[in-house]
Structure formats: C-alpha cells, structure tokens
Subunit: 210 residues, 2 copies
C-alpha cells in the first residue's frame, strides 16, 4: 500500500472512530486516546491528521454534511414533485442515520451543547426542506389553505424528532415510521390532483444505492 | 427567615442554577462551582444539599418530571376527548419548555449522551401520548384507517422535534407552530364527527395557570 493510500485509510478510520465516540459520550467527555484506540492507530498518527478534538468534530460534521447534500441532491434529481423530494430524502436520511456512523455522529454533534452553535447539519436540512416546500407552493402543488411555512415547520419538527429519538432507539428510524408520517401528512399537504402520484413509502426501493 | 425555609430556598436556587448550567454546557462539562456560583451559594452549601453532580441532575429531572405529570394530568382532567388532551398538553409543554428553566434543563439532560439512559422524561411523555391515543382508538374517535400507533409515532416525533429545536431557538416553541402541527394532523387523526369539536390552538387561553 502506498504511503498516501495508507494515510487516507488512517484518516478515514479516525473520522469513523471519532463519530462513534462523540455519539456515545458527547463532544466534551470524548477523549482523543479513546478515539485513536478505537481507530486502531497511535496517538501520534491521530495528531498527524488532526491537531485537536475540534478539528476531528469538524471533519465528522463536514463528511455528514456532504452525505446529506448527496441525499438531498439525489432526491431532487429523481423526481419532479418537490413534495416527493422531501419524502424520498427523509427516508434516505433515516436509513443513513441508522447505519452510517459518520452521519449519526454528525447529527449527535449537532445536538451536543458544546457543538450545536457551530454545526452546519440541522441548518442545512432545514434550509433544504424549506426550499422544497417553497417550490411546492410556487408550483401550486400544496393543498389549499396550507402555506409552505406550515408544511416546513411540521416536517422539520417530525424529522428532527425521528433523528433524535433514533439516537437512543434505532427502531424509530424504521421505514415504517417514516411512512406513517407521510401517510398522515401528505393528504393534508398535497393538493388533491398531485396526491395520487405521491408515494409515502418513497419513490424507490429502500436498498438502492445513492 | 427560619432555618428550614432558608434551606428550601437554597435547594431551589441550586436546582434552577443546575438546570441552566446543564442546558448550556451539558452534564459532563458542567462544574459544581459554576452551579453554586450561579445559585449565589457557597460550595459548602451545595454539598450540604447534593452529594454530587448526579444527584443534582436527578433533582432537576425529578422536578421536570413532576411538572410534566401535572401538565398531562391537568390536560386529561379538563377534557373528555383524548385527542384534545394531547393537543392541550403539547401546548402547555412547549410553553413550559420556553419559560421554565427546570423543565428545559430536564429535557436537555434527557438528550445528553451522559444522562439519556437514566432520564425518565422522554419515556414519561411518550408513554402518556401512547395511552391517550390508545384511549382514542378504544373510544372510536380516531379516523378510519388510522391506528393509535400511527398517531402516537408521529405526535411523539413532532413534539420531540419542537422540544429539541426549541433548545437552540425558542421561536420553535411558539404557540403558532404547535397549532400548525395540529391543524395539519387533526383532520387526518380524528374521525369526522369528533373533528369539529377539537381545537388545534388548545382548549383554553395560553396564559392560564396550571
């Protein structure tokens, strides 16, 4: 293995280990030695890649933010109805929160008292949901009497709830629960004509890769 | 002031100060000296009342749990429709999260990696919402095709979201947002006959005392 490749693997292992330790212990209690030990690298190797714990947290957050960006972009590219964008992205995000330690760690940092002011993740998700709902309103696909702010407010609250509750019990992230949300919300959010074309369970099978 | 009364005031000040410091810094980073300083008492006085930080956290959690119990009992006592119980209790809970430092601190501890396994609050809220929805199903007041688990899942997710988002931006706890949630959900949750009698904004004015 060439040196550069080995360095990239070490960096990757450190980000994953940091995400796990941050999620389990919180940012302040997490120790760099617990992170390097979990990554199977020396303290020296950790410090070669990351000068301090804050830089490790930023790397976890940046990678989670990039995954979130890919999730939302893919959902938008696949569908024309912007409510379906949000349904699909919600399913994908919960799948990732259940099985991707970096996405989970990133969102745990976003909830952490010591990191929440700096974390980009919640703002990124909220801004994207708001954009999608604004698009739906502009295109006339929202139900009469429902504004984009009404929809965005409730969707952001419910998805944040699933995300947070899934941190202690992964059963909250099950597709069935996300589908329940959309089965209850879509008939109130979408105008009658568009509703029939919307799939609460998502517009593609759960196992597809991004 | 008699000695007993002074002791009760000191204990009260310590619980409030602890709730604020836990909410701002998290359980592990919070220092006992920051808490005694904020309470305006000596370290000795703190240790007279609380042997350690865990006991302070438990006192915050117990007081928040007691307030939550009063909120839910009051909502239940006031109304016969169990969906309206949940609407009313949700409004009250968000009001308390916005202005009661102990309730806010208690729920922050429930989200804290170091305390979440022990904290009673989320389980208490979830169990109560589930009971209310089960009652609604048993009484036949849920809409056709909607089960109590569907309703409880979405209500718990959305209210947890408001609670968590309100920790960084109190605007999330505004009555208007909670009303939005119920305006979107109730027409899907409640059977047609019962719906007309339900008030998304809550069944009583926001300023009433418990």
């Amino acid at each position: 293995m060439v040196k550069q490749e080995r360095a990239a693997r070490t960096r990757r292992a450190l980000i994953q280990a940091a995400a796990e330790v941050f999620a389990q212990e919180g940012f302040v209690p997490a120790s760099l030695s617990a992170i390097s030990e979990r990554a199977g690298v020396s303290n020296g190797a950790l410090h070669f890649h990351f000068a301090n714990k804050r830089m490790l947290a930023e790397a976890v957050e940046a990678e989670a933010a990039e995954t979130l960006r890919r999730i939302t972009e893919a959902a938008r590219a696949r569908q024309t109805n912007s409510l379906q964008w949000v349904v699909d992205a919600t399913h994908e995000l919960m799948d990732f929160l259940a099985r991707d330690v970096v996405v989970r760690g990133g969102f745990e940092l976003a909830a952490d008292a010591a990191r929440r002011a700096e974390s980009p993740l919640r703002g990124q998700w909220q801004g994207w949901v708001e954009d999608a709902l604004r698009t739906a309103e502009r295109r006339g696909t929202l139900a009469e009497g429902v504004s984009w702010t009404d929809g965005a407010c409730v969707i952001i609250a419910a998805t944040t709830g699933f995300e947070v509750l899934g941190g202690t019990d992964a059963a909250w992230l099950a597709r069935r629960n996300v589908t329940r949300l959309w089965e209850l919300l879509l008939p109130r959010l979408a105008d009658g004509q568009g509703l029939a074309a919307l799939a609460s369970a998502g517009s593609r099978p759960p196992t597809a890769a991004l």
